[in-house]
Amino acid sequence: MIEMQVYRPLCLDDALRYLSECAEAQGNPARPIAGGTDLIVSARHAATAGAAEQPAGWRVVDISGLPEISGICVDGDEVCIGAATTHTEIEESAVIDKSAPFLAEAAATIGSRQIRNRATLGGNVMNASPAADSLPPLVALSATATLASVRGRRVVPVAELVTGPYRTVAVPDELLVDVRFRALEPKAQSAFIKVGRRRALAISRLAAAVAMLFDSDAKIVDTRISAGAAFPTPRRIGQAEQVLLGREYKAELAEEAGREAARAMVCATGVRWSTEYKEPVLAAIIARAIRQCAAKEGLDVWPE
């Protein structure tokens, strides 16, 4: 394990001051730790890799349990999830179950019980892994991220926060404090499907997050489709949404939207070694997620 200097702030302002001081000094910015489920694994690798350019030790600021950034609440017409909220809290939250059930489903697929008890939404978002399971539903929800520093706050759409694998627009003195989104319509249906190498403790090979709103004539009046581990940065898949929007639901439409999503992925990433697998699988899970939404609405049957 790499050496660490650990700073334990009493409050958010204190954490932001420390981040700011470290950002100004000697090119060794502080790394926030909450659940530690990514950071401690990286610290092990950093120690064994022995990279020459690595600073001798890491500065770490423990933000776990800071009350200002923990917990879930409804704030006006937005749902607000503090960055230090754990996946277990999201999975079990009545607010999330009502406002964005597919986000709760996604949280429930992350790691193991032990991981979900520690790992936080903020960590999942800011680590910005292409396989981060919270990102597809957050992007489908058009969620925003609030970045705070001693200089103030700024709000960035989650889709723009992540600029590439493990990269975000946040600068070293900024801390993600919350993620916000408007609740899905009460009548909307949503689904999250993850494909991993096994059913527990798996990193997503691909994931699909879909929300659908039907009117009483089975017409699709709104849809949001997003995928995990498919695109260089998380995004909604407009091409697939356009297939559905304004049309009367039938299972064939779901299949067509799935194929369109897969085509969009290949367009964005080019044909890679994994395309032969990922193209049909993404098409299938997007179609299934749409069909699950329709099944919840009584318009389809899934599983068949």
Partner: protein, 204 residues
């Protein structure tokens, strides 16, 4: 979201690493309750809870398998929740309550889970057993009457290469059956939603 900005007393500040001084310490003092006993340790910032438990407190029942949160051999209960102690810094545990496998037995009597594991042949090489027991304990503490699927979910983060899991699930089921009437079922999800400005977090 401005929220709580309590700066605490000076003593609190010092205990948390110097709120006012802004000195990030390479060594930190941590007070915890481990298996009901108060302990104070002074540890390097990078020390894992697993190392503190095994090397400083000599509670070697907790095992290290993978060291990256994949195998669950190092599972302990931290503030009521099962966690991988290989992924927690001891520095993050000031004020925490920790239970290890050594804390299961009471007055020299094995815990019902320990007896059930033995009776059901749920222990073969035994390396995963302490972690399995702690995941099972955390589950039963939260929900004394889990169904089979909930049991399997609770131990999904604990690898066993010997038993094939069936005997372990049966052992936990047998303890769940002994746990009396199930009228409190469903309470588990009624936890308080923390507001942005209240402490909705798990503490620690």
């Amino acid at each position: 979201m401005a929220g709580v900005t309590g700066t605490g007393t000076k003593t609190d500040a010092n205990a948390r690493g110097g709120c006012c001084g802004h000195e990030a310490a390479a060594t930190v003092d941590v007070r915890m309750k481990v298996n009901g006993h108060d302990v104070t340790v002074s540890v390097p910032g990078c020390e894992r809870l697993l190392d503190t438990i095994r090397e400083r407190l000599h509670l070697t029942g907790t095992k290290e398998g993978c060291g990256v949160g994949e195998c669950g051999a190092c599972t302990v209960i931290l503030n009521g929740q099962a966690v991988n102690s290989c992924l927690v810094l001891t520095a993050q545990c000031d004020g925490a309550e920790v239970m290890t496998v050594e804390g299961l037995a009471e007055d020299g009597e094995m815990h019902a889970l320990q007896r059930a594991f033995i009776e059901h042949g749920a222990v073969q090489c035994g390396f995963c057993t302490p972690g399995m027991l702690m995941s099972a304990k955390a589950l039963l503490d939260a929900d004394p009457h889990p169904d089979r699927d909930e049991i399997r979910q609770a131990i999904a983060g604990n690898l066993c290469r010997c038993t094939g899991y069936e005997q372990i699930v049966q052992a936990i089921e047998s303890v769940a059956r002994q746990a009396g009437p199930s009228e409190d079922r469903g309470l588990r999800k009624d936890h308080v939603e923390g507001g942005c400005e209240s402490d909705g977090g798990q503490g620690s």
